[in-house]
């Protein structure tokens, strides 16, 4: 049996922009692990392959061991194809059995069970043709499977998912080094400190209201307070951080200041003071000192987000902070409005007041206006430098992916620049 994860290039994936501009949906985090890891664990299938939009394929191949966009992966075994938006916890469809296709209310395939014999009869021209043929030839099941529909679903589910993932991991105890004095509150069964972790003196780990998982090689500096549920990723460093409940911090991050119910994908810096709450921060982001987001409106009404800069989407939640794309950088004192959407590779220079809620990818926000700034190559040089500082390489494949993202995001950026130009001319 082979698990096939797929993230089709449909409009749906835009619900997760700017985070999915540069990665497949299943790489997003919620709790301790990614959505893909959860689906793989849930189905119990070790052999996996994946299909994603073509522009992501070359870069993603360097980050995964599984075959990427290889049609040959659709032969030679029984297949269990699962859309990455399916929530693993409630995915109760058995991997084995006769062929069938599970559809949502819109008739979109959420999963397909395709036996080796069935697969031989289906088109292998490309993945889309294969899925269409499966839908045309196999029995349909109208399934009510729960799905992730927007990035803020992940943020809002993070605390509960952390608890569930901690239980699933089945680890507890202290395997790293804890320098005294220190304080651990709550049950010791709710704390796991992995090998290679260094916890400096004067750190509080508060597991009274949820578990705390500190992964290999992490370093926790003095005067940090970590409140569970919480996950600190491999080789991340917390610098006197007020790490409130419900945070998932990916690998190789630097986190100081206050962080609450937020997800940081990895390799990002929020080194200094400033509050980030109910937010999702991508990779290679640098948040300047005192960068702060609002995650609650003064009237406690539900937060809306404008992913495309034009249409407000009601999140249904009174608490949503900022969605920040990969390689975004903020200056000191940046203030994000409630429900902000900051594009990948965006450069933000603070204005002293809350920014517009949507800033497009590759835009330079300067003097209160969206501009083209110093252009793409300057951004690439900075990205390459940031990556090299963490032992990662900016490759030709990476640049080709970002060139494609530049084109994908061009219409929204051009519109925002024109709007700013009109404002500039009117001054």
């Amino acid at each position: 049996m082979r698990l096939i994860l797929f993230d089709r290039g449909t409009e749906f994936r835009e619900h997760f922009f700017p985070l999915t501009l540069s990665r497949p949906l299943w790489e997003l985090r919620c709790g301790i692990t990614s959505l893909g890891e959860k689906l793989q664990a849930r189905t119990g299938i070790g052999d996996a392959a994946c299909f994603l939009p073509d522009y992501l394929a070359a870069t993603y191949r360097t980050r995964t061991k599984c075959p990427v966009n290889e049609v040959s992966a659709l032969t030679g075994d029984d297949l269990f194809l699962v859309d990455a938006r399916v929530k693993a916890d409630s995915f109760d469809v058995p991997a084995g059995g006769a062929g069938e296709v599970g559809l949502n209310e819109q008739g979109e395939i959420l999963y397909a069970r395709v036996t080796q014999a069935d697969a031989k009869k289906l088109s292998h021209d490309n993945f889309e043709a294969f899925l269409d043929a499966a839908k045309a030839n196999l029995p349909h099941v109208n399934c009510g499977l729960a799905t992730w529909n927007y990035t803020w679903d992940l943020i809002l589910a993070n605390p509960a998912q952390l608890v569930a993932d901690y239980a699933a991991a089945g680890r507890h105890g202290i395997e790293g080094a804890i320098e005294q004095p220190n304080a651990i509150r709550g049950s010791k069964k709710d704390v796991y400190v992995a090998p290679g972790v260094t916890i400096h003196p004067m750190v509080v780990i508060d597991a009274e209201h949820g578990p705390v998982y500190i992964d290999e090689g992490a370093e926790i500096h003095p005067f940090t307070r970590i409140e569970g549920p919480c996950y600190i990723g491999k080789k991340s460093i917390l610098l006197g951080a007020k790490c409130r409940e419900g945070n998932s911090i990916g690998p190789v991050c630097r986190v100081g200041g206050e962080l609450e119910e937020s997800i940081i994908q990895g390799y990002s810096n929020k080194y200094h003071d400033g509050f980030i709450g109910h937010s999702y921060v991508g990779e290679w982001v640098n948040l300047g000192a005192l960068t702060t987001n609002s995650d609650l409106k003064n009237d406690y009404s539900t937060v809306s987000v404008m992913l495309d800069g034009k249409h407000a989407i009601d999140t249904g939640s009174p608490k949503v902070g900022a969605l920040i794309g990969d390689h975004a950088k903020t200056s000191i004192g940046t203030l994000f409005n409630t429900g902000s959407c900051i594009g990948a590779m965006a450069i933000i220079m603070a204005t002293g007041k809350p920014l517009p809620k949507t800033i497009p990818s590759f835009a330079w926000f300067v003097e209160g206006l969206v501009t083209k700034g110093f252009g793409r190559s300057t951004l690439y040089e900075t990205a390459a430098m940031a990556m090299s500082r963490r032992g990662r390489q900016w490759t030709e494949a990476e640049q080709a992916m970002w060139d494609a993202i530049f084109e994908i995001t061009a219409p929204m950026r051009k519109e925002a620049i024109q709007k700013s130009r009109r404002a500039m001319m009117a001054k």
């Binding site: 220079m349 330079w364 300067v366 501009t371 083209k372 700034g373 110093f374 793409r376 130009r421 500039m424």
Partner: protein, 86 residues
């Protein structure tokens, strides 16, 4: 219609708040006219608006003097089919 040089001078004067009569072709935007990095971005934006063209940021920002800007913009206008008075 004003020439490209006159229009470049007018935009430069407006953005950098320098009297137009003080601007000469050999003047460097940064060293002689005091353009800060943020103003360079604004200059590129305003030149695009003035001439109705789209410039490559890297190429545009590498232009150092007013005279070079006139040549650069004239070429871009030709490439993009925009009629201008040389």
């Amino acid at each position: 219609m004003a020439t490209v040089a006159e229009r470049v001078k007018a935009v430069t004067a407006r953005v950098l708040r320098v009297p137009p009569e003080d601007i000469r072709p050999e003047h460097s935007f940064t060293e002689d006219l005091g353009a800060e990095s943020v103003q360079s971005i604004e200059l590129v934006a305003m030149f695009e608006e003035e001439f109705g063209i789209e410039m490559d940021e890297d190429a545009a920002l590498s232009v150092e003097t007013v005279g070079a800007a006139v040549k650069f913009i004239t070429n871009v206008c030709k490439e993009q089919g925009v009629d201008v008075e040389e």
